[in-house]
Subunit: 266 residues, 6 copies
């Protein structure tokens, strides 16, 4: 498991899509947990970083996966020399410090994660460390945030209704083209005309999802292409390696994407 | 595993639906174990907290899941410095103290849980700690309570008849609209008119279960919506993020729920 | 694992169904292991308790399940302070003390249980503790008893013929109505008329097995209903919570059972 | 795992079916491993016990099963107080002492058993203890014997050809009726007429295998029935509990077997 | 797990296929992670070794597989005498030293590998050692490189879009025939005519992929054949053992390949 | 795991089938790894023993199976008294000593074996011990040899192309009848006429593979039959127990093989 604690030195760059900042702030004030739904690379993690900064709270992120257990989250006894030392896991740290706890791609986690989440997400707001016998009240400011991508097909993996209904849901999508052009220009270090071309290209590729593309190109890949272009790689080549290649291995889809690229950058 | 011991400071708020309080009290007096059936968020946990308070017994809750083992429930030897110390698990604690032991979503637990339950649920009322060689008679006042949601489809997971028939079954459902309005108004902090509108909306959404909704909206999500409205979020937006989003990821169902919301809150 | 050693203070109540007491006693004298077949709650455990009392032998029960291993049955080394101490498991204890060893629902156990059973069930009557290097002859009076419910469908779980043919088989069924009325009246604390009504009701419900009921109502649920009635719960309500609810979650079957209840108790 | 070392005080009773004694003795002299094929309870274990006695070799039996690992067979380091002590497993003991090593129901074992068997079953005749770094030449007199029941359907479990072809195969079947009558009379303690009736009955039941009976009744169950009859249980009842019940749980087959019993014992 | 740290004594031989050297160098400068796609044996590993040499960075390779866990990658506590010592895994070493970290056949790894990769592959560039509580910023020069072969059919194994879109993708294929001839002649130690014949033969075999060949012959097998020929093995035989045999076990395909060999080398 | 180190006292008996000795010797000189394909019992292991003797190298054999892990191959830390001692596994020993490392039935091994093999089978020729941090260059004379039987159907188990193409492939088959007669006569201790009859019989049985026989009779079973005949067992009986029985459990095939035996030995 890999828990990253944000160490922000300044305001994380975030362009609001709607009223998500206000709703999140209210949920924080009311102690309501929040779930973020949305596609890959559309800015969910950035949003949580931004909110942690704005609310003045530390942030603890955990990327969830199949092998993640309750012990990974809560902590464990470690043997150091002769001593047995308890080491808090990331959830316990977040609860003690009143942090924003962000469980990314929570549907990937094993079912016992649910058990950790439930008593933190209702009126109890407690965490029980079964191995130490300790029951910890969440410190003021603590908030639980989870995220997932609803467009994947998870036949066997899905949040149970008894879990889902504990959260307020915020939906995310790719930024609209105005905002996306601004992001690509700023983060990719290219001129506006190039950013416009890249975002327009993305708009032509995204409909391929109906023809089998697993996921639309994210803003992230547009920024990567922009950075290569800014570094002197020819535009077409930059788009092929930073956009077409990462999207798919399917030869037909690759060819279609390359045609679109060739149509935009001669 | 996550065992929460209730620390009630006052009477937990609970509105009776029928004669469940009296039947539970009689079962407690007779030493009959109880199973609670009912949908998510309809108040089963609250009911047990209320009964524990009313009967003056401590309460021990265990949220069951796939990885829960008998050791988690009964206890284990821990190494502390040079010493090996036995630490009671939540079931053992409940049995020693004569507590109300609440195993939530028991169908999720692994089959060896059954083995712990059986001798506690018949005339023997004993718990045997195989690892310490101890056999513990349940203290007076001990009662076993389990719960599950019968509306999920558990192809492979089901209580065996030899387990089921050890329990008296109490069925729970959403409160009727009068009681639900009262709950939403009190817990959500909104005026009665708003509570009426939210409960009426829920009544329109619940039939969507026949069109594929996995679970009807619980009273819990209505309270969350009410709290956001009370905090100044516009009613429609509050219902979208607190009711529509948590219910489903299906675009058609989301749209249907949003239409119903738009019809209620302009 | 959960091994319960009976501590009988008096003769356990048991009404013989046929010649099972004499056959069991002969098997005990001859050193022949016994298997008990029969539905849930029909008195198999009681019968073994009764025979242990009658034969003046201690009794060791083990409820079998999926995660039960040979170590659970035989014993293990435990670390206590500096020392490593061998702790006998329930089977080893039973073998040393010449007890009646009762393996309940043995088809649920893992296959290595078989290995423990075989040399105890033929002319060898030995138990080998591979971890200590000890080979123990079963003390006089030791007898192996197993039980299971043949009406479940265990596609993958079944005793192998090489195991089955080591046992003498006793078949159990629900008591006939005369005996069942006596049991319900004595154990449930109700008058004979009420016991008659409950047993008659059960006789009407049991045929629903042909319409999908997983298991017929056992004598156990009738006793539970009787005890609630004796405590003042109205008869119909008592039957609904103690009989209908525990039997099934199927709405159609529940309704059918409730109709039968309503026909018996107005 | 359960390794039983035979402690024969006298010649184990065994009636030869053909030339199996001579062939086994030659294989022992030639160092050829032997596999015994045959149905449950037809005397394979007895035969090996008999041969061990006849050849003057100790015998080590291991009943194989799904969870049996190479460590169980070879040995392991155990911690005793401060020391780490190597403890030979049953195979290692057999190899060091030149014993007859009998792996019963070997198809049930896990695949790494194969690895232990192979270098013991060809010209190398060595056992390598990877954990101690020791390579042990099998002591003179060592012989590997395996057994299984070819009539089970093991879709996934089967000896690989590269294993099978290392063995000389001896086929076993139920004894012919003359020998079986003698066994039942001697071991069951009944008169010859009764033994004849029991063996005749078995001859009528065995063809039911074509109608779904998983396994024919073994000589073992006839002996059990005989012993109950000798103890005073009526013949019909004794046959029902010792023959019909252990064979099957199928109601139709049970009824057919009971009819056959009723036809033989009035 | 098997992490190999390159210890290059001179420039690793690599013939560029296109602009991959420049793009990789730009990605390294920009901190963009790279994925290499391409068939077996086409030079992906060589390319990374070459780039590590060219960029003057150490290189750490990890061959991924099904059993690879996050602990294998990150490190673990080891007990040495009385002490517990933390030992960095290969990823941690690479991060500390600013190495090129090459995860070969990354689709074979378990899902928790993803969790290690993600925070190293975006703007965070950190590695969090949950077990020591340490958060490590990647040293300057660190770069993440992954590779896989898109032509295998991995029904269940595939990189998630949220992982893929973090990388710039470089596609590799077999070298064109001019370059392949040069490689075979240099590395195989044969004359140019022989290298031409081998490469021409490969060109005739590769279309058999459409007739069921799992993978086309790589440059690697051509070099092996050349080395055997250079050592005096007859050409036809060398091609049969170094090219035909390794490609397939299918008798029809083997025959087809042998016919092609016979057509080239008389 | 079971690693056997050959301790040859003289030249292992091996009759060459073709030019396999020369090709293997060249591969050894060139550092090219070798894979041996062929049916059970056709002499692959003997061939490797012979080559190890001929090349004057020690030989380390590992029989691969499902549970074989990288730790089994590479080594592990063992606790001995107070000390933690590293113990080389068989692969590490082979690499240090420049031995012939023979991985028998390599397709049975778990996928992480691949990871051990790859860097030993290309230009790197190194082994990395992740647990000790050591990287070992293979000593001169080290050679990797793997074997498998391509005629089994391994739906899920197959060497990956990226593994296969690292090896030079030598194909083995049963010896031709002249050589097989010589082997049977020498190793079985029978006269030439008897050896001829046994080999002729085998030639008649082998076509039954087309009628369902899993594997043709190997030279090994012919030698076993010969040894029993030499020891005085009648020829027909010897063939039945040493050839027919080990081949199959299918009654129809057994009968067919017995008919062929009866036709050869009256």
């Amino acid at each position: 498991m890999q828990a990253i604690q944000a160490r922000c030195d300044g305001e994380p760059f975030y362009l609001a899509q709607g009223d998500e900042i206000e709703i999140f702030a209210q949920c924080h004030r009311q102690g309501l947990p929040v779930m973020l739904k949305g596609p890959t690379g559309c800015g969910k993690t950035r949003f949580v970083e931004h909110m942690a900064w704005r609310l003045g709270r530390p942030m603890v992120s955990v990327a969830c996966h199949d092998d993640l257990t309750a012990s990974d989250l809560l902590g464990r006894f470690l043997i150091r020399g002769d001593e047995t030392v308890w080491q808090d896991g990331p959830v316990t740290q977040a609860v003690r410090r009143g942090a924003i706890l962000y469980l990314d791609e929570v549907v990937e986690a094993r079912p016992d994660t649910t058990v950790v989440i439930h008593p933190l997400s209702d009126h109890r707001r407690v965490l029980s460390l079964d191995k130490t016998g300790e029951v910890i009240d969440a410190a003021p400011g603590f908030q639980l945030v989870i995220s997932y991508n609803p467009s994947y097909q998870h036949a066997l993996k899905d949040l149970k209704p008894s879990t889902r209904q504990r959260f307020v849901a915020l939906e995310f999508d790719f930024p609209d083209s105005g905002r996306e052009i601004e992001i690509v220009a700023v983060e990719g270090g290219v001129e506006r005309a190039c950013a416009v071309a890249l975002v327009t290209l993305a708009g032509r590729i995204r409909p391929l999802r109906d023809r089998g593309l697993a996921e639309a190109p994210s803003t992230r890949v547009l920024v990567a292409a922009a950075r290569l272009i800014a570094a002197g790689i020819p535009e077409r080549k930059a788009c092929e390696v930073a956009i077409a290649g990462p999207l798919t291995d399917d030869p037909t889809l690759i060819a279609a994407v390359r045609d679109l690229i060739a149509g935009h950058f001669h």
